[in-house]
């Protein structure tokens, strides 16, 4: 079944890099959206929930961990798989955000293979 994706990162450059890396990983999405901050992501998700969300952590105003908590309060997004994509790599932080409701974690820098490995379980 066709899947939808949202990329949330405060850097437009990073959103493009993630988009390209997803394409290189061979994973195919029916619709891909972008958001440059947490509020924009919540607004877009409210209108159109997605299957998979790739989410930065270090963002101004609302960071990725706060965003995950907010999304997990939304009924319409209860099936959305959230995979964090961050330069952060401490196990403590990873465990924390998974406990808050994220479904996976990819550390920057990343490779197409990493996206394939972490996202393919959510593609069926």
């Amino acid at each position: 079944m066709a899947k939808t994706l949202m990329i949330v990162d405060d850097s437009a450059t990073m959103r493009k890099i993630i988009m390209r890396t997803v394409r290189m990983s061979g994973l195919q999405f029916d619709r891909t959206e972008e958001a440059g901050n947490g509020n924009e992501a919540l607004e877009k998700l409210g209108a159109n929930p997605v299957d998979i969300m790739l989410c930065d952590i270090n963002m101004p105003e609302m960071n990725g961990t706060e965003l995950v908590k907010k999304i997990r309060e939304m009924d319409s997004c209860k099936n959305t798989k959230i995979v964090m994509v961050s330069t952060e790599s401490s196990q403590e932080l990873i465990n924390g955000v998974i406990a808050d409701g994220a479904n996976g974690f990819i550390t920057k820098p990343f490779t197409p293979e990493k996206f394939q490995e972490k996202l393919s379980p959510f593609m069926n």
Binding site: N58, T87, S89, P109
Partner: protein, 163 residues
């Protein structure tokens, strides 16, 4: 107490990793200690706090910054790119290098909280931490074509303990 050599190595190794894997450009420590920067430069900086506090900066010429941005975006060298996109790219490079340096230092200094990166255009731009600040400066060459400088301005924070 962390020594300068350790920070120097983490900074260089972190930058090399990011340039190789995310920007597809070669970065090497300069063999010329007198290496000078061009007049027109961009400075990306990001601050950190923890048992060490300070700021990591990346300084490069405008033409180098443009090439970095084009590479990150997978664009051709003939394509046009605006200043805002270049700034965004340099900010993200700074963020990525900080992330890589931070994970290399995790065992020796513990976790560091990192800010959002900022980018300014100009020359001789430096953050000052005042008394007790140390500075590690690494001069590098990117693709044997551009001179750039990486720096870590830092001081130990006695109120915080490594965990």
């Amino acid at each position: 107490m962390i020594d300068e050599l350790c920070l120097n190595d983490a900074l260089l190794a972190g930058a090399k990793e990011i340039f190789e894997t995310m920007i597809f450009m070669d970065l090497e420590e300069s063999t010329d200690p007198e290496q000078k920067m061009e007049e027109d430069t961009l400075l990306g900086s990001i601050t950190f706090t923890g048992t060490l506090e300070g700021c990591l900066t990346i300084c490069c010429s405008s033409s180098c910054a443009k090439t970095i941005a084009l590479n990150m975006l997978g664009m051709d060298s003939t394509e046009e790119i605006n200043g805002e996109d270049i700034n965004d790219a340099i900010g993200e490079v700074t963020n990525l290098v900080m992330g890589s340096v931070k994970s290399r230092l995790a065992d020796s200094v513990g976790n560091l909280e990192v800010s959002i990166p900022t980018v300014v255009r100009g020359r001789k731009l430096e953050n000052s931490l005042g008394d007790g600040a140390n500075k590690v400066l690494v001069k590098v060459n990117i693709e044997d074509e551009f001179a750039a400088e990486l720096s870590l301005l830092y001081r130990e924070n006695p109120e915080q303990h490594s965990n």
